[in-house]
């Protein structure tokens, strides 16, 4: 499960448009320049990049690093569904989602969502929706590792696990 994966096949462009979809689950550091370049499109006036980064202190607990685990085949299919749903809702030209697994050090990015659209309001809205959905639907889990080596899996009470992936044929 912890092997590094390149971009899912080659970036998929549908036959009738320039829509770009890209999903990656990787142990490698996230390369934001590469992602921004991948979603850039002459039709777009906006690219929004969201990075989720490892925070030092959560609810008073000090974290040394996070370690992520993933149910990879299901995570890929849920991420693909989320991208497709976002594409139905907003005029997305380019979209890339990368999630790291394994150890992520403080201040490093564990997740990146990049969306490009003709106008900025759609890019902000789609990016916000995608990260919100990723956090409650994709089977990925984080473990907080403290300075004393104490490890604790995070299983939030209010979200995730029981939420079905988006399903709209």
């Amino acid at each position: 499960m912890n092997q590094s994966k390149g971009f899912c096949d080659s970036p998929a462009r549908s036959a009738h448009s320039q829509i770009l979809l890209m999903i990656e689950i990787t142990t490698a550091a996230i390369e934001t320049e590469k992602l921004l370049k991948a979603v850039s499109d002459p039709a777009c006036g906006a690219s929004v990049l969201f990075l989720g980064t490892t925070r030092r202190v959560t609810d008073g607990r000090v974290t040394n690093c996070l370690s992520y685990e993933c149910y990879e085949p299901m995570a890929r299919s849920v991420l693909t569904e989320l991208e497709q749903e976002a594409r139905r809702r907003w005029p997305i030209q380019g979209c890339a989602i990368v999630h790291r697994i394994g150890v992520v050090e403080i201040s490093e990015a564990s997740v990146a969502v990049v969306v490009s659209t003709p106008h900025r309001a759609d890019a902000f809205a789609a990016g916000q929706w995608l990260i919100d959905e990723i956090k409650v639907r994709v089977p990925i889990w984080k473990k907080e590792i403290g300075p004393d080596g104490h490890e604790e899996w995070q299983h939030p009470l209010e979200s995730g696990g029981t939420k079905s992936p988006v399903v709209s044929p």
Binding site: M74, A75, V111, K135, I140, W141, L157, T162
Partner: protein, 81 residues
């Protein structure tokens, strides 16, 4: 029938394995699977009650019937991002 349940995060840590083999009646439901998991792993009942069961990489409801070919996973509340 014998089924294999993939384990993740806290469930995997507590069991110490990435999968668990269970014997269930033929065409048992997800609910019966949950009962068997509760019987085998009573210490994980609180987590199980908050978890989903995925069958062939889709969240399944408790009435879903299982077969021994299914890919079954215990999906605890997720915390990616």
């Amino acid at each position: 029938m014998k089924v294999r349940v993939l384990l993740f995060a806290e469930a995997k840590s507590v069991v110490g394995e990435s999968a668990l083999s269970l014997t269930l009646p033929e065409n048992a439901s997800v609910e019966q699977l949950r009962q068997e998991l509760s019987r085998k792993l009573p210490q994980l009942i609180p987590l199980l009650s908050r978890s989903a069961i995925a069958v062939n990489q889709r969240i399944a409801d408790d009435r879903t019937a299982l077969c021994d070919e299914d890919e079954i996973a215990w999906v605890p509340p997720v915390s990616g991002g």
